[in-house]
């Protein structure tokens, strides 16, 4: 069969994958601390393919038999650019100033990192994430025993003027090792070095919202749809060419 069909199919499959990722971005447009994902592809350039064609000295050889047609080596990457900061007036909401800083949350699977600063308090008085995982301070968890909790711009937590702890903030110079795990958190790969602690710089009573806009995401949707359209048309055209080849080539004029 014609290689073109497979190239078109491969292009179409990439668009399907992209749609899944764009839809996930869209669903999380109001999720604090959400970071959008992008699908990266490595496409084959015309130049490299053409060079391969020229390389083959045998006029009958098709120098591109060994390559995979279409897009290859897909990767989803997280875009860690900062989202807009929304003032909420809630004492337990904090947003991080620096784009590569993260809060540390203790989960059953080990420490995980988040930029969602909408914290709460559990039954034991510990500061937790919205789903009840303890948020780590300088020396373990932070316990808020009394009323009047306040988080300061330097990350220290006061209860009625008495300091009870300081939020631990870590900085990733290279965020590419962070993988999303859901619940607005990220984890590092197995055996990765722990990120260094930095001086916390937080914006009290505010939340960082998702770093995507409705407009750009809907544009992503449209471009995905059109690209898919293009690939299906490509497959259909190739099919038509094949069909005419089968039915018309060699037909005798009566």
């Amino acid at each position: 069969m014609d290689r073109g069909t497979y190239s078109a199919a491969s292009g179409g499959l990439v668009q399907l994958r992209k749609l899944e990722i764009v839809n996930n971005n869209l669903a999380n447009i109001n999720t604090p601390g959400f970071k959008r994902q992008i699908l990266l592809t490595e496409k084959q350039s015309f130049e490299s393919t053409f060079a391969k064609e020229l390389e083959s000295t045998d006029p009958f050889a098709r120098g591109d038999h060994d390559r995979t047609p279409g897009s290859t080596n897909l990767q989803s990457v997280v875009d860690f650019s900062p989202g807009p900061i929304k003032n909420t007036g809630n004492a337990l909401d904090v947003a991080l100033h620096q784009p590569n800083d993260f809060f540390v949350v203790q989960t059953p699977e080990g420490p995980q990192y988040t930029r969602a600063g909408n914290f709460s308090i559990n039954a034991k008085g510990e500061l937790t994430s919205m789903d009840g995982m303890p948020v780590l301070g300088d020396g373990g968890g932070i316990t808020i025993s009394g009323p009047g909790a306040l988080i300061n711009p330097d990350g220290s937590v006061n209860v009625d003027g008495t300091p009870v702890g300081k939020l631990r903030v870590v900085r990733f110079e290279d965020t590419s090792s962070l993988m999303p795990v859901g619940n607005s958190r990220f984890k590092t790969g197995e055996g990765a070095a722990a990120p260094p602690n930095v001086e916390a710089e937080v914006i009290p009573q505010s939340l960082e919202m998702a770093n995507l806009s409705v407009v750009s995401t809907v544009v992503d949707l449209m471009s995905t749809n059109r690209a898919f359209d293009l690939y299906t048309r490509m497959a259909t055209s190739i099919d038509q060419v094949n069909q005419s080849a089968i039915s018309q080539v060699g037909r005798r004029n009566s």
Binding site: Q15, L16, R17, L19, E20, I21, V22, N23, N24, N25, L26, A27, N28, I29, N30, T31, P32, F34, Q37, N73, L74, Q75, S76, V78, T88, G89, N90, L92, N118, S120, I121, N122, A123, G125, M130, D131, I144, G146, P147, G148, A149, V159, D160, S176, M179, P180, V181, G182, N183, G189, V214, T217, V218, L221, N225, F228, T232, A235, T236, D239
Partner: protein, 262 residues
């Protein structure tokens, strides 16, 4: 493919909840003592279609793989206890709390609830009650013939009776605070109940040690800002719309794929 459909559907569900919460806030824009609610969202789990670090050849691996998120979920709906504006009513039984703190209310079933709505009334026995008729704890009885009632900043209630030129003290309102106000359970009727997440209440005196002080003749109006809520509503509606487009796109692409076979 079907994954994309469900993912977009979770987005629509989440925004529906968001609109529910916003509508309730808007409906209570004139409810004194009302505190607005806020829906908090989190992303759902990620499915690794290609594991990060999977080999792409004998000598190379992918750095991040392909991780497809499965949408969004509501993590919590919490109350936001920022101060509402004080509104002058000149009613001597209206009290507003300036700052943190709650009144204690005894419910008919014997349990205790907490409220910031200070539109008090008297029942037929002269007891101070909420506008619903629930008795304020500790109970304060105001004599029938009281001429003027005064409620001090610290919650002291006194009244002047006929034939007397001085005010006699009748009782004092108790102030209550929680470690985490946002963790209180809102039961409606402007009442809140203690939960594990709110922490245990501590009692004190109004106007002291971080407890808010009282203002007689004022009511704390709802802390809902119409502009803020309408803006939230617009973003929620657009997000809902965008997610619905996500479903449409998934449907479109699926139908194109099916129509490949003519």
């Amino acid at each position: 493919m079907i994954r994309a459909l469900y993912t977009a559907a979770t987005g629509m569900n989440a925004q529906e909840l968001n609109i529910d919460v916003i509508s309730n806030n808007l409906a209570n824009v004139n409810t004194s003592g009302y505190k607005k609610s806020r829906a908090d969202f989190q992303d759902l789990m990620y499915q690794a279609v290609v594991e990060p670090g999977a080999p792409t050849s004998s000598s190379s691996t992918t750095s991040s793989g392909i991780q497809v998120g499965l949408g969004v979920k509501a993590a919590a709906v919490q109350k936001v206890f920022i101060q509402g504006d004080l509104q002058s009513t000149s009613n001597q039984l209206d009290v507003a709390i300036e700052g943190d703190g709650f009144f204690q209310v005894q419910l008919p079933d014997g349990t205790t609830a907490y409220s910031r709505a200070g539109a008090f009334q008297m029942d037929n026995a002269g007891r101070l009650t909420t506008s619903e008729g629930f008795v304020i704890d500790p109970g304060v009885t105001i004599p029938n013939d009281a001429l003027a009632i005064s409620i001090g900043q610290d919650g002291t209630i006194s009244a002047r009776q006929p034939g007397s030129s001085t005010l006699s003290q009748l009782g004092q309102l108790t102030a209550v605070r929680f470690p985490n106000n946002a963790g209180l359970r809102a039961t409606g009727r402007n009442l809140y109940q203690e939960t594990e997440s709110s922490g245990t209440p501590t009692q004190g005196i109004f106007g002291e040690n971080g407890y808010g002080r009282l203002s007689q003749g004022f009511l704390e109006s709802s802390n809902v800002s119409v502009v803020g809520e309408v803006v939230n509503m617009i973003t929620a509606q657009r997000a809902y719309e965008a997610s619905s487009k996500g479903i449409q796109t998934a449907d479109d692409m699926l139908s194109q794929a099916i129509n490949l076979k003519r």
